[in-house]
Amino acid sequence: MALYSEKVMDHFTNPRNVGVIEDADGVGEVGNAVCGDIMKIYLKIDGGVITDVKFKTFGCGSAIASSSMATEMIKGKPLSQALELTNKAVAEALDGLPAHKMHCSVLAEEAIRAAIKDYYDRHGIEYDKSQFPDPHEEEEEGPED
């Protein structure tokens, strides 16, 4: 069996929504160069609905596939629905990820949350802070080499 499902390879080979939105309403960036994954998501929002979304990701095949799939899953959706997107749902939509790659789907969920939070902050929109926990506070240590 190959490392990745056909779906993952499809989204890695032909990623959807790659790019930058210059006049984005919200931008979220998570991850860092030390761990080898950086995901950046750009949102265009109109009337509480995500009208456009783009991503750029520095990372492995599953990080790129997770970004591509996650952006597809929130495009055209109201913010309330986008906030409900879980990493599990992203991984399932990709027909699964290897266990040590699950953190890539977590990054996708976090990047979307970060972009929506950025939109709320920029536009002075009130929100429930408990919906946006600081991901670094609950970050788990990676497995030892």
Binding site: M9, E29, A33, V34, G36, I38, K56, C60, G61
Partner: protein, 398 residues
């Protein structure tokens, strides 16, 4: 160029040579005896075993009685290091000198020995991935039981000054082991001239079969056992001998040694053509020393292009490579070898290793030089980190 498959991951493993395969064939249904049996069928197998030992000894410059067959390089490393440690401990010597970028078969054995009360000094390998004999000399103490330094590194291909280190160890009266898994069959190795006391090798790195290797242990040095049982290998390695594997290994090594000079010249030229061509990709860099390097090894980093994505994209073009990126190691850390060179994480994550063997052709090099710039561009076009370099948000490193 038309799409082709280019296997350029020969440091991981090589294809078997025709000659190795031919040497193995009779060992399954004709020379199938157990070398420990006294009858003629067994003795025929024993003779073959002896002939293989002679061939391997001739390639390494030692006596046949100094060669012990193992299941591969990892077992050989484990046995050599443990034997030297045990021997030292009996005389109250519990210190070992090694380097930070050894293979895990060495490093993990040393980690275990540390838990058993040994002290380990890991030498820094510097930016170019080469240590000096002077550094080894300075690290040796009165209680040093063993110095173990790899002949050539598996990721960045740097060749260590083994002969100079060997002399230093000989003068100090310290046992010297070298993990020569990447060197044997690729560059000249002679245990006598190199003043090596113990050496590990693996057959599948030089077109032999997988699952078989050997160690050299200088006459007079006590080898302790890892596997208990029968009296095979003079009681130092129990288990009925892997005759077919050993025959394949001996044939492959003999062939590699016969063609050593010609292969080295050809591969060095191919390697340098690849490096020169790939360095034309903007913001790329060579990892490891450009000259003290295995003939077939290229290891480069491409800013902003993550290693696993590079491998997958290259694979889509038919090119099989490897990387020291964290994502390929099943951990979140990049390769300990690249980190030992002092490379920043973001450069270590963006590495690509190309390892050529004599099975590769100039057309393979042409094809890689044609396709790999596009592979790097494609991965960069998806990369947020690359955007940050381009916009000047973070400075270029390479």
């Amino acid at each position: 160029m038309e799409k082709r498959t280019v296997y350029a991951d020969n440091a991981a493993t090589t294809a078997m040579s025709e000659r190795a395969l031919e040497a193995m064939k009779p060992c399954f249904m004709q020379i199938y005896g157990n070398p420990s049996s006294l009858h003629s069928v067994g003795q025929e197998a024993k003779e073959l075993l002896g002939a293989c030992r002679e061939k391997i000894a001739a390639c390494l410059g030692c006596e046949p009685s100094e060669i012990y067959f193992t299941s591969g390089g990892s077992e050989a490393d484990n046995q050599c290091i443990r034997s030297a440690a045990l021997f030292g401990a009996r005389k109250g010597k519990r210190h070992i000198v090694s380097t930070a970028f050894e293979h895990h078969a060495v490093l993990h054995t040393l980690d275990k020995l540390k838990k058993e009360g040994f002290e380990v000094t890991l030498l820094d390998v510097h930016k170019n991935g080469v240590i000096t004999a002077e550094e080894v000399k300075a690290a040796i103490r009165p209680d040093t039981a063993l110095v173990t330094v790899m002949y050539a590194n598996n990721e960045i291909g740097t060749i260590q000054p083994i002969r100079e280190i060997g002399k230093v160890c000989r003068e100090a009266g310290v046992i010297f082991h070298t993990d020569a898994v990447q060197a044997v069959g690729h560059i000249p190795v002679n245990v006598r001239e190199d003043c090596v006391d113990m050496l590990s090798l693996s057959a599948h790195k030089f077109h032999g079969p997988k699952g078989v290797g050997a160690l050299y242990c200088k006459k007079g040095l006590p080898l302790s056992t890892l596997i208990e049982g029968g009296a095979q290998e003079k009681g130092k390695r129990a288990g009925t001998e892997n005759i077919a594997g050993i025959a394949g290994m001996a044939a492959a090594l003999e062939e590699a040694c016969e063609n050593l000079g010609a292969n080295m010249a050809r591969l060095t030229a191919m390697r340098d053509r690849l490096i020169a061509g790939l360095l034309k990709i903007p913001y790329s860099g060579l990892n490891g020393d450009p000259v003290r390097r295995l003939p077939g090894n290229v290891n480069m980093s491409f800013e902003g292009a993550e290693g696993e994505s590079l491998i997958l994209s290259a694979d889509a073009e038919g090119i099989c490579l490897s990387s020291g990126s964290a994502c390929t190691t099943a951990s979140l850390k990049p390769s300990h070898v690249l980190m030992s060179l002092g490379l920043p994480h973001e450069i270590a994550h963006c590495s690509l290793r190309i390892t050529l063997a004599d099975t590769n052709t100039e057309e393979d090099v042409d094809y890689m030089l044609e396709k790999l710039p596009g592979v790097v561009n494609r991965v960069r076009s998806l990369s947020s980190l690359w955007d940050d370099y381009v916009s000047g948000k973070i400075p270029h490193v390479l």
